[in-house]
Amino acid sequence: MLKDIQSLKDKGDYSSISNLIPYTRVIGLQCAVEDGAMVTRLRHQDSNIGNYQMAVLHGGTVAALLEHAAIFQLLFELDIKAIPRIINISVDYLRPCRAMDTQASAVLVKQGQRIANVRVQAWQSDPAKPVATAHAHFLLS
C-alpha cells in the first residue's frame, strides 16, 4: 500500500490513491488535481441524505468530505507516503447542504515536526457561499 501510494504520487494520480480507500465508494468521494490544486468532491447520491424532509445531506458525509479534502491536501503538498492520521476536527455548518455535488478545498496552515494544521472549506453552486468549514489537526508520523 505504501509502495502504491508512492508510485501513484510520482504519477500525480491522486484519484487512484483516493480510490484505494473503501469508504470513498460508500459515500462517493473523489480527489483530483485541477489547475495545479487538489480538489475533493462528494458526488451526490440519495443514500447520503440525512434530512429527507428538506433533502439535505447528512452532516457526517459533509464532515467526511472535509476530512478527506484535508488528508489529500497533505498528501499532495507534503513529502509523506502514508495517509496522515486525524487527531481532531471542528466542523461549522453554515448553510444547508442540498442534494447535489459538494466540493472542498483545503489549506495547510502550519506544518510542524509531527503535526499539521489544516483549514477546509466546502461549497456547492457558489464558492463564495460555503456550506461548511472546518479546521483539523493531523499526525504526520
Binding site: 505504501l2 480507500i21 428538506m54 452532516g59 478527506h68
Partner: protein
C-alpha cells in the same frame, strides 16, 4: 416545563433517514436528552485499506447522528433542529472488525441552542475511541420529529 419529544415518533423518523440506513446505524437506547446507537463494522467502511481502520468520516457520521437525535429527543416534536457545529477528538483508532457504539447526552438546553456531548467506544464508554461536542440551533430551518422540516 417545555413539551418533550414523542420518542416513538422520533425513532420512526430515524428509521427513515437514508444515510443511517446505508451505514447500518441502529438505536440501542432512546430517552429524553439521552441516546445510544450501534454501528457494525464492515470492510467497506475502512479509511485505511492496509489496517482496515474505519475512515474518520464513519465516526463523524455516527457521532453527528447520535448527537442530533439526542438534541431532537430533548425538544418538542415540532421544533426544528439544525447542526451548528461538531468538534471531534479522535482519541485512539477504532479496532477493525468490532462494532462501534455511541452514547450522547444533552447537557444544556436553552431556548435557541442545544448543547450535546457524545462518545464513541467499543462497548466500554470509559475507554472511548472518540469524544464529541456538538451544538444545535433550535427553531431555525431544520429537522423535526413530527414530519415536515422547515427551510
Amino acid at each position: 416545563m417545555p413539551e418533550t419529544a414523542d420518542l416513538k415518533q422520533l425513532a420512526d423518523m430515524f428509521s427513515q433517514i437514508p444515510h443511517c440506513r446505508e451505514m447500518g446505524i441502529e438505536i440501542t437506547a432512546l430517552a429524553t436528552g439521552r441516546t445510544s446507537m450501534r454501528l457494525d463494522y464492515h470492510e467497506r467502511l475502512a479509511g485505511n485499506p492496509e489496517t482496515g481502520v474505519v475512515h474518520g468520516g464513519v465516526i463523524s457520521t455516527l457521532l453527528d447522528t447520535v448527537a442530533g437525535l439526542t438534541a431532537m429527543s430533548a425538544v418538542s416534536p415540532t421544533t426544528p433542529v439544525a447542526t451548528l457545529d461538531l468538534r471531534i477528538d479522535y482519541l485512539k483508532p477504532a479496532r477493525p472488525g468490532d462494532a462501534i457504539f455511541a452514547d450522547a447526552d444533552c447537557f444544556r438546553l436553552s431556548s435557541s441552542v442545544a448543547f450535546v456531548r457524545a462518545t464513541a467506544h467499543h462497548g466500554d464508554n470509559t475507554d472511548p475511541i472518540a469524544h464529541c461536542i456538538a451544538t444545535f440551533m433550535l427553531n431555525a430551518a431544520g429537522f423535526t420529529s413530527a414530519g415536515q422540516g422547515t427551510s
